[in-house]
Symmetry: C2
Subunit: 579 residues, 2 copies
């Protein structure tokens, strides 16, 4: 990957250059975060001209490595004010990689009232006026159809949906997936950043792309086999996720008493099984669907965790129907109807709004009296208002912190203004440290301690005790920053944590591709360096240790059934980033 | 003043003790800020049980010193997240002082769904259930009537209005003034803090109060005369303010090209005179009113800047009708009709919402497409929705930062999430340094450089140039922190900056009252120490130098007619607090 493309939306100029030397050894999150730290003024307004948006495939993207097709998107977040890397599946990243594009950067902003489509192919980038029919309320499903018709069925697409057009802080970037449906770089509002620059969509056509160069193809093939085998052999990635999707976690977390229910007032919901993975799987199977149950979010995925959820007539409703969304609506907002939840999930994808942030915002809005508890239809109607947007739609589309503010709540589950997702930090203390300290704002994927606290992957650390959690969160955050740089789905971590040859195979693939001799320590050092760069950006943007705290109510409201509180001291929390 | 009262709203216990030794030499802002720094956890949620609210008269309050009847209210702000001191006129403070109450603190919160009235008299404090008729939408004018009927016509009253009941971040605390109308501790949302503790009102009856003890009465009387004379002799406090009220500034700032217009896109409005002090005065005079033109916000005021604005039939509409509110609606939101502005001002007082924050929020909402530009009726209707509150009302009642967030704007005029008031920092650079650095969030009263930049009070520093501004803002912030501790109206600063014997008389009064021998340096040192305490709280609450910045658009959008930008470097700004 040798091309570094910059698109200036003010001057409408495109610069395609060689990859700057300092970025040559970076990819994915390592690249996006380094770039943002280098070129974005930390105190800039995220929706102003001085923010930049960068798209980058990972080290292994475009190769035959299993599960390596993720794309990293970076910028300063309008939701959190922090640096942000948000990644997604879809077809975009692999096309970029095969075309030799290391990164695409969008700079400055168009000042005229026109949305544009950036068309990327082997001839370069053209800046086209966006088709009128995809602007001003057009849903993402329709927009993908229109763009696929205009630019060709096989193009990759990145979209800012209606939420993005209105620059709402929870707007995501939606990516066309292999079936023409939607995957999202969900968290942190980067869709609002994209649209603030007046870019409605990126369309990528890799016709004539040379593909990825592999320095040692045979070594690569061998390592790739070992790697894929590890994924297929691990019980989480080889069995649980393919069978039930991520929603398998509903019953597991409910059993653990850590499924946040009714805006984090309980750790168990007696209706949990009605919305859990087993029920989802049985429902999909019974309805037949369109012949699909689980499938992958990008080509080359061997885990295939994504659930293809149909309505009662067997017609497709939504996919990438994840645990965190089902939890947010099903347990936290007490909407006990999986079909209604599926409709809301589809609507969020169609509008282009982060389904985690918005689900938690809905539950918080219920506590605040803006919506009736557990009313799925009211929630669906409210989500539809995000696309208009009505004042209520604007509130929900701005995320949980804004909902808490306008409702005068102190029980607002956010860290750095990003919603706390589907695992209560009181009975699963490791994940609480990740929420508190990750440079991303509350984010389970930044250091998924659930693996070791609950799923007993990578060893076991008692979730109720403080012992061992600081090291666990620290090590997982470091490892995750590295994994997020490979282009691999984070779920590979389950396998590489437990299967040493799987981890070695990951390193072997990178070494074989780039003619390197990296060892495990190099991976750790990469992760550490990414986190330090991100944290330094945040400090310059106005964050200090006082922001590395959970909302205060976790400290004095014990969570049933275990009746635990969050009891890490500030000093203990601050140890996570002592490396 | 020897009593220090704590009311615990969880246990419903009242503790009246001696003033703790460490607070014996403090009053007003010096006391409220020291107390908050000592007892409020900086990272607590402002609307949670760990915030505290403190009311304190100033050093001179309750004496015959002119203009000394202000009350300071302190707590952690739900608007800014910073420490907050907000002060107000009215009759409350002088009653507290005459009763010997140094401070009244509200701690913890009632968890039951009941609002209370704290009744304070010489027998102590009783906690009464609030009359049902003043809860749930009752305006402040009516609530004052009800409480005055129930508790006696002469009682002092502090109220959380409907905005406070809904814990909206811009809710103020409203105080009954000598005429039974409304004065506000406006900025920073302390009304939401009060109501979060389930205190709807404080009622104070000073029957039987011993009055304030003066150690050297004769010396005090002499100094008080000199002090009052200085106020009456200075052209600003003796002539301009009494004649035209603060609204006299409209034409002055317009002439200076520093009247922020249409959400800070211009520094002049060609309709400025239609809403300026001269027009206001002519209107009031022509309509006769109820025999009043200007009057004071508290007994003993010799400046009497408050305007008593009647409708076309001569009937009272609003008072305390200030420049900043008229500016926000009249120039920034382009509402060119003084009568409509007066109705909105009355409505904001009645709802109990900060009129500066809300006026700027309205202008920002107009830029964001939530309201039509310049439409006074639409603005009035929207403000009324704050009391309901509808989703739009909640947005406006949450202040300018939230409006900017839900509208996806980068042109959001706030510092530390508090709205920038009526003086553009590009052509009046001194005030920009105050906005950026004061521990309160954007606040002109924290270091009113307009005095020296525009009014040529306390010397002259060219408003367009950077030279001298750092020292000016620093010195005025220090002086203001001291003045805010005396209980005196900030407007005495005009006189004491220019008339040395006026300043000496202020010190002489304090010395005579308390049998002290303070000199000018002691006053300066008090101011410095207050600022340092406030800043340390903010640092612990999560603020660093990166928050001491103006919104970025001021740096690259030149303001007509002078076409200046905000050009202080971060390093220069950070010099303000280098003392």
């Amino acid at each position: 990957m040798s091309k570094f493309i910059r698109v200036n939306m003010k001057t409408k100029t495109v610069t395609t250059g060689e990859v700057p030397e300092k970025y040559s050894g970076l990819a994915g999150r390592a690249l996006t975060s380094s770039f943002v730290a280098d070129e974005v003024k930390p105190t800039c307004h995220p929706l102003g001209k001085n923010n930049k948006l960068i798209f980058a495939p990972g080290f292994l993207t475009g190769t035959s490595a299993a599960n390596s097709g993720r794309i990293s998107v970076g910028g300063k977040s309008p939701l959190t004010g922090t640096i942000k890397e948000s990644n997604s599946g879809g077809t975009f990243s692999q096309k970029m990689a095969r075309m030799g594009i290391k990164a695409l950067v969008i700079e400055e902003m168009a000042t005229e009232d026109t949305f544009y489509v950036l068309k990327i192919d082997m001839n370069g980038v053209s800046i086209d006026e966006a088709p009128a029919e995809i602007i001003d309320g057009c849903g993402n499903y329709k927009a993908i159809e229109v763009l696929s018709t205009k630019y060709g069925a096989k193009v990759g697409i990145a979209l800012a949906g209606p939420a993005g057009e209105h620059r709402l802080p929870a707007a995501n970037i939606s990516f066309k997936d292999p079936e023409g449906n939607i995957r999202s770089a969900g968290r942190g509002g980067l869709g609002a950043v994209m649209a603030s620059k007046k870019v409605k969509a990126l369309v990528i056509d890799d016709t004539g792309a040379p593909g990825v160069t592999i320095a040692h193809p045979e070594k690569f093939r061998e390592a790739a086999k070992v790697f894929a085998k590890a994924l297929l052999n691990h019980p989480v990635t080889g069995q649980a996720l393919p069978a039930y999707g991520t929603d398998v976690l509903v019953n597991i977390l409910n059993e653990a008493g850590a499924l946040p229910t009714r805006n984090f007032t309980a750790g168990r919901a007696d209706w949990a099984n009605d919305v859990g993975g087993e029920t989802m799987n049985a429902t999909i199977t019974a309805r037949g669907g369109e012949g699909k149950v689980s499938h992958g979010c990008h080509a080359g995925c061997v885990i295939r965790c994504s659930q293809w959820f149909p309505d009662k007539k067997g017609k497709y409703v939504t996919s990438g129907f994840e645990y965190e969304t089902v939890w947010g609506l099903g347990a936290d907002a007490c909407i006990k109807d999986l079909d209604k939840i599926a409709l809301i999930d589809r609507e969020m994808d169609d509008i282009g709004i982060d389904s985690i942030e918005t689900s938690v915002a809905i539950a918080t809005a219920m506590e605040g009296g803006l919506l009736p508890w557990g009313d799925g239809q009211a929630a669906l109607d409210a989500v539809k208002q995000i696309a208009v947007p009505t004042p209520l739609g604007r509130i929900l589309g701005s995320g949980t912190a804004v909902v808490g503010k306008v409702c005068g709540l102190f029980r607002t589950p956010v860290v750095k203004d990003q919603a706390i997702p589907a695992y209560d930090p009181r009975p699963v203390k490791g994940i609480g440290l990740t929420y508190a300290t990750t440079p991303m704002g509350a984010d389970h994927t930044s250091g998924y301690c659930i693996a070791t606290n609950i799923l007993k992957v990578g060893g076991y650390v008692d979730p109720h005790k403080k012992e061992g959690q600081v090291e666990l969160s620290r090590n997982l955050q470091i490892a995750t920053a590295a994994v997020d740089s490979t282009g691999c789905c984070l779920f590979i971590a389950f396998a590489i944590l437990d299967i040493p040859e799987g981890f070695q195979a990951l390193i072997d693939m990178i070494n074989a591709q780039y003619d390197l001799a990296l060892a495990a320590d190099d991976v750790t050092n990469l992760g550490k360096s990414v986190l330090k760069i991100e944290r330094a950006f945040n400090t310059a943007a106005g964050f200090n240790n006082a922001h590395d705290r959970l909302p205060e109510f976790f400290e004095y409201e014990p969570l049933p059934p275990h009746n635990l509180v969050w009891d890490f001291t500030p000093e203990e929390i601050d140890e996570v980033f002592n490396f």
